[in-house]
Structure formats: structure tokens, C-alpha cells
């Protein structure tokens, strides 16, 4: 079984990493916010100290006493907590206006690039299909839209027909009531 003090040392190390990581992210987000420009973080530079520290700690732990599979469970728990802590840090960073601004700018640029590419691709596909005498995407979409519209119209007619049928049922019912009342009156007259 792993030594308790080693486990404690590991969790202390983990806490230290989280604190350092939070500070690093806060600095990074602060820089983005101040400059107003998207500075892509250098992941290698960012992660290297953590990886080095982690590797050193684990190699130290493995040299102490006979290792058991419980060590793996601890390792898994350590990773889970590490990921959860990072998720929290990332959430905080991504929940800032600075991040939303960067994301918005990125999407704007992507759309600016996408729009002409999409237009050119659509036009060339359309021209090629037309030259081949094959229905183009626009034509197929157009037909599908017509089918959808037709279905809507049929449903509209169904609704109106349903409403008419309901009214007719009411009419037949009141007619039947009238006829019954008339028959009763006639029977009363005969009886008198």
C-alpha cells in the first residue's frame, strides 16, 4: 500500500498546481482583456512545469515500498480531480467577456472567410451539374420545399375539413333535435 505521507504530498502538489494554473490563466485572460487581441496561449510552455513536477513526484512515490493496484486507483482519482479542477479554471476563463469577445471575433473572421468560399463552391457545383444535365442542389431543395408547402396546404385543408365536419355534425344534431321536437309536437296535436 502506498505511504500516506506520499499521498498527502501528492495532493499538496496538486493543490499547488491548481493555484499556479489559476494564476496563469488569470494572467492570460487579463492579457487578452487588456490588449483586446486574441493571443493564442503556448500550451507547451504552459503545461511543461506541471508535467515535470508530476513525473518527479510519481517516480519518487514508486520507489517507496511495494506498489499495489491501489496506487492506480489513487492515480485515477488524482487525474479526475485534476481534470475537474482544470474544467473549473477553464469555465472561469471562458465565462469572461474577454473570451466571448475573442470567440465572437474568431467566428466573424470564419464567416468572412466562409461566405465567399461557400458562394464559389455553390456556383461551381451548380454550373457543373447543369452542364451534366443533372438536377442541381438548389433545384432539389426547391422541390423539397414545394413538397413541404404542399403538405402544409393539405394539412390546412384537413383542418378546415375537420372544422366543417364538426359544424356539419352540430347541424345534423340540431336538425335531428328539431325533427324530434316537431314529431313530438305533431304527436301532441294528434293526441289533442
Amino acid at each position: 500500500m502506498a505511504d500516506n505521507s506520499s499521498t498527502q504530498a501528492l495532493f499538496d502538489l496538486w493543490k499547488k498546481q491548481i493555484e499556479e494554473g489559476t494564476q496563469a490563466w488569470a494572467r492570460l485572460v487579463g492579457q487578452i482583456g487588456q490588449s483586446g487581441q486574441a493571443q493564442p496561449p503556448d500550451p507547451l510552455q504552459f503545461w511543461r512545469p506541471f508535467m515535470d513536477q508530476g513525473m518527479a513526484a510519481w517516480s519518487k512515490l514508486l520507489t517507496q515500498g511495494p506498489p499495489t493496484p491501489e496506487l492506480l486507483t489513487q492515480w485515477k482519482q488524482f487525474l479526475d480531480q485534476w481534470i475537474a479542477a482544470w474544467q473549473k479554471v477553464l469555465e472561469q476563463a471562458m465565462g469572461t467577456e474577454a473570451f466571448a469577445q475573442v470567440l465572437g471575433k474568431y467566428l466573424d473572421q470564419w464567416l468572412s472567410l466562409q461566405a465567399p468560399i461557400k458562394k464559389v463552391a455553390e456556383e461551381s457545383t451548380e454550373a457543373t451539374l447543369q452542364a451534366l444535365g443533372v438536377p442541381s442542389r438548389t433545384q432539389v431543395v426547391g422541390i423539397a420545399r414545394q413538397v413541404v408547402d404542399l403538405e402544409d396546404r393539405i394539412e390546412g385543408l384537413e383542418d378546415r375539413l375537420g372544422a366543417l365536419m364538426a359544424r356539419m355534425d352540430d347541424l345534423f344534431k340540431s336538425l335531428a333535435d328539431h325533427e324530434a321536437a316537431a314529431a313530438r309536437r305533431a304527436a301532441d296535436r294528434v293526441a289533442q
Partner: protein, 365 residues
Amino acid sequence: MPDRFTMVTDEPRVDPEVIAQWQEELQRNLGRMKNFTEMVANPKEPSVGPTPRQEIYRKNKSRLYRYESRRKYRTPLLFVPNLGISRPYIFDLLPGGSFIEHMTREGFDFYLLDWGVFGPEDNRLTLEDCVTRILPRMARKVLEISGARELSVLGYCMGGPLSACFIATHPEVPVKNFVNMAGPIDFSKVGLFGVWLDPRYFDADRFVDTLGQIPADMVKAGFKLLRPTMDLTTGLNLWWNLWNDSYVEGFQALNKWANEYVAFPGEFFRQWVKEFYQQNRMIRGELRLGGKPVRLGEIRCPVFVVGAKEDYIAPAACVKALIDAVGSTDKGYVELPGGHISLIAGRGASVHCWPKVSAWLAPRS
């Protein structure tokens, strides 16, 4: 003279319990290798949707399914999930792990509205169409088929606000009960999506005008960004449990669902982002659909709201807001452990969530 085969050393002897633990670990690793090889070399398409069902109505891409049940309650239940984003087989994922199976086993006459997978021909479909044309028609069909005079509506995720809008604007539809599971209501508390979709940074009009429909890959990217460590956690948990055949079966089914994203029709997306995320009109009472104002206070039937403590798509506070907004006197709220998906799939859901929903609905159905 010592025995030739007896080793005498000064090393401490290894505890037999430790040896047994390592043997077990070795077995698990062999199991991991076996399942890993099978997953890579012979990937099987997981079979999902085990509960027998019948398609009873279709409108364009949308389908209404009725699930087989020993009907114990008179009032049928119409289940309204999210439109776009993902497919609804998550609600009937695997035998023993299916919300629909649970509800039908409890005796509910269960109807699922599958909005379908929309193509470019559906880009003109609006949220208004869904609330004022599709949902009333589906509700009428449920009443027709079940022969009941009233129905219950259960909205999940986006289906929650859609159902709320539908019930509020259609007092003529006899809705007996309304359940909102993880459906966002107050979009001022909607979390990261609310920040990212801020009108100062996200131009919904430009998006829709450029792309037409919002592609499935983009929907996927949005959700992945919401939880950047999700894939890492999933991979790690898979490796950890890879020796366990039933875990692997569940993983494959859930993973299939989690990677099958669905595009948004353009106009629907425009309306959803602008009127809900950016302007929060529904809770403010400023939303109009089909010429009618949407007033949540008009909802007077019994209401049950289920929120999840770690829901990052529809945070609990955002879901809970329905309780204060409706005009019902019989209303209840429950906040359960887990996230958005763990309300509807997984072992936790079958223990914490589904029994609560069926127990609330049963005496009212």
C-alpha cells in the same frame, strides 16, 4: 545443505493480499485488452431504442411515436424533446437504461415527438411554426389516438420552453399536467452559452444569412467548447472501466448518441438565439408567437420542474424560474445531483430522477 529449489533471501516477503490484488489487476488488464481489440478491430454498431413503438403521425420530418405499454393511467403523456442538437434515442437507449422503458413499465401511455433531422429545405421553419402549428397538431393526435380528454406534457431541454410557450398560448388544448426537465426558462441565468451569445459578440443574423442552416459540426463544436475536458474524462473513464463488458456496452450506445449531432434550421436558430438567449423575452412576458402574447402566468395546470445541480447547459436557477412564472397553485421543484444528460440517461437517472417524475405524474394522471 539447503534445498536446491528454496530461495533464501533477506528481502521482506510480499503480502499474499497484494499478490491477489495484482492478479485481479492483471485480469482486468487482459479484459481491457480484449475489449479494446474488439472495439478497434471489430467495431459493433450499438443497438439502441429497444422499447417497441409505432409511428402514429408524421408531419414533414417530425414523427409522433406511441410506445407499447400496459396502460394504467388514463391521461396520455406527450414527451417533447429538444429540436436539433441531438437525436431522441437517448430517451430509450438500452434495456434497463431507458427513460421511456421506465415510464411505459409504470403504465403511462407514452408518446414521443421526434422533431427529426432537418435539411436545407426546412430553413424557413421557425420556432413559431413549432409552437403554433406542430405542437398543437401533435397534441390533438395524442388525444385522438388515446381517446383521452386531457393530456400531460413533458418537455426536456429546449422542449421545456417550447412546451411552456405552447401551453401558455393554447388554452383550448386540455393540458392536465406539465413537467419541465432541464428546460431553460430564465435566460439571464443560462451560463456560458448566455455569455457567448451576447448580441455584442454574436451576430445571429449574419450566421443564418451566411450559412442558411446551422451545420451539425458547428453545433458539435459549440457543445464541445462548453465542456473542453469532456473527451478527456470520457476517454479516461473508458480505459478505467474497459474490462467491464456492460460498461463498454453502455459507453458504445452513449458515445454513438453523443457524437451524432443534428443541424438547426436557420430561421429557428435565429429566433431561438435572438428572442430567448439575447432578449430573454419569454420570462419577461414580451414574446409573441402566432400573434399571441406568451404569458407563462397563463399556465394554470399542475407543474413539476426538475433541475440538475451540475447542469452547464441549463443551470438549475435558469430552469427553476418556471416555478415563479406560472399561475399554477399545484407546483413542485426538485433539484437532483448530476448534469443535463444524467437526468435522462445513466444509472443515476434511473435511481434519482425517473421515479420522481413518474411518482409526481401518477396521482395526477
